[in-house]
Symmetry: C2
Subunit: 202 residues, 2 copies
């Protein structure tokens, strides 16, 4: 019969050619943490989503909080992330933000960290964890004398404003997310947002 011993590898011991289990766990953790928050996500659920044993999660990442912090580590240079927005000067910032916003919205990793805070998906303890890690990421270079100005802080603030609207409509189900004219929303906000970049707003 077509009895291929494919899959169903049982018992302990190293697996033959497993690609990158560590990345798989991180990916699964990101999705689940973003969806259900810290307390709502169990190590077992992460392990199941990654197709591994819960013990392996601990083996790689230690305690649950450590896994969470690891999942929050997005490798985005704030200066680079800011560049496409401020390209063309303050005049184009509003319009540029529109494209960046849609981009970020479609990027699960960035969305997790930015929106994770903006949405406040997490309980207060978790928010402290995220905030500290995020502030370290965004403001860290400043502390190291890299001469970033406040625009780096403005980006997540402004972006969260834009996304807040979208999220709000999504949560309230005023209309499905699929039919959401994100561009239109951002364009509407652009004049106000632009003033952030010109410095007219605190």
């Amino acid at each position: 019969m077509t009895d291929e011993p494919t899959g169903a590898v049982r018992g302990p011991g190293r697996r033959p050619g497993s690609p990158d289990t560590r990345a798989g766990i991180l990916s699964a953790a990101r999705s689940l943490f973003a969806e259900r928050g810290l307390k709502g996500t169990t190590i077992r659920a992460v392990a199941a989503a990654a197709g591994v044993d819960p013990a392996l999660v601990h083996h790689y990442f230690g305690a649950k909080d450590d896994l969470f912090l690891a999942a929050m580590q997005i490798k985005v240079d704030p200066r680079a992330a800011m560049a496409p927005v401020v390209a063309g000067g303050a005049d184009a910032a509003g319009e540029n933000l529109m494209r960046v916003a849609v981009q970020v919205w479609d990027d699960p990793e960035i969305r997790l960290s930015l929106l994770g805070i903006a949405r406040g998906v997490f309980d207060s303890d978790t928010q402290s964890l995220v905030r500290d890690g995020f502030l370290g990421l965004v403001l860290g270079p400043v502390g190291k004398g890299l001469d970033l100005d406040r625009a780096d802080v403005r980006m997540p603030l402004v972006a969260s404003q834009v996304f807040g609207f979208i999220i709000m409509r999504y949560v309230l189900r005023v209309e499905p997310l699929a039919s959401m004219p994100a561009e239109q929303v951002v364009a509407t906000y652009a004049p106000t947002l632009q003033r952030y970049f010109t410095g007219d707003l605190p």
Copy 2:
């Protein structure tokens, strides 16, 4: 000696003149749910905050989800809540919203339901619970033919936008909430918000 048997009432049985235990439980539940979310709040924590036994919580409210829904029940007539905003017509809406916004921000009960959704404090399961209860509250009268227009839906949408900014600064600790010029923020947004009420925005 001054040995008053005040407090420290041990053992089962009815307590002498307990004021309103049920309300105390609800109040504690509101605070904790707002602070830590559904999954982050335990029945034991609610009971401890209310100074009663966990079993009593179940006795009054049944399952945890039932308690949560009970805690979400805010007795606010959306038409009445909307009135001070739309008073004076669309021209004054932006300014009126400023006062209402500050009011709502200071009202823990309203804040819990409105911001609870806006912040997305809760996991996805919880959000469904909240959303259903909230939509029932806001849109229920419409279903019953009370002829509310979309302004009732706009209010939480707009308010969440305003509050979203405040929350964002609070979470990121750009500056402490106490020194936040809420009026200035709302005033800044007023022109855009106003267009919601005049119907220029979807």
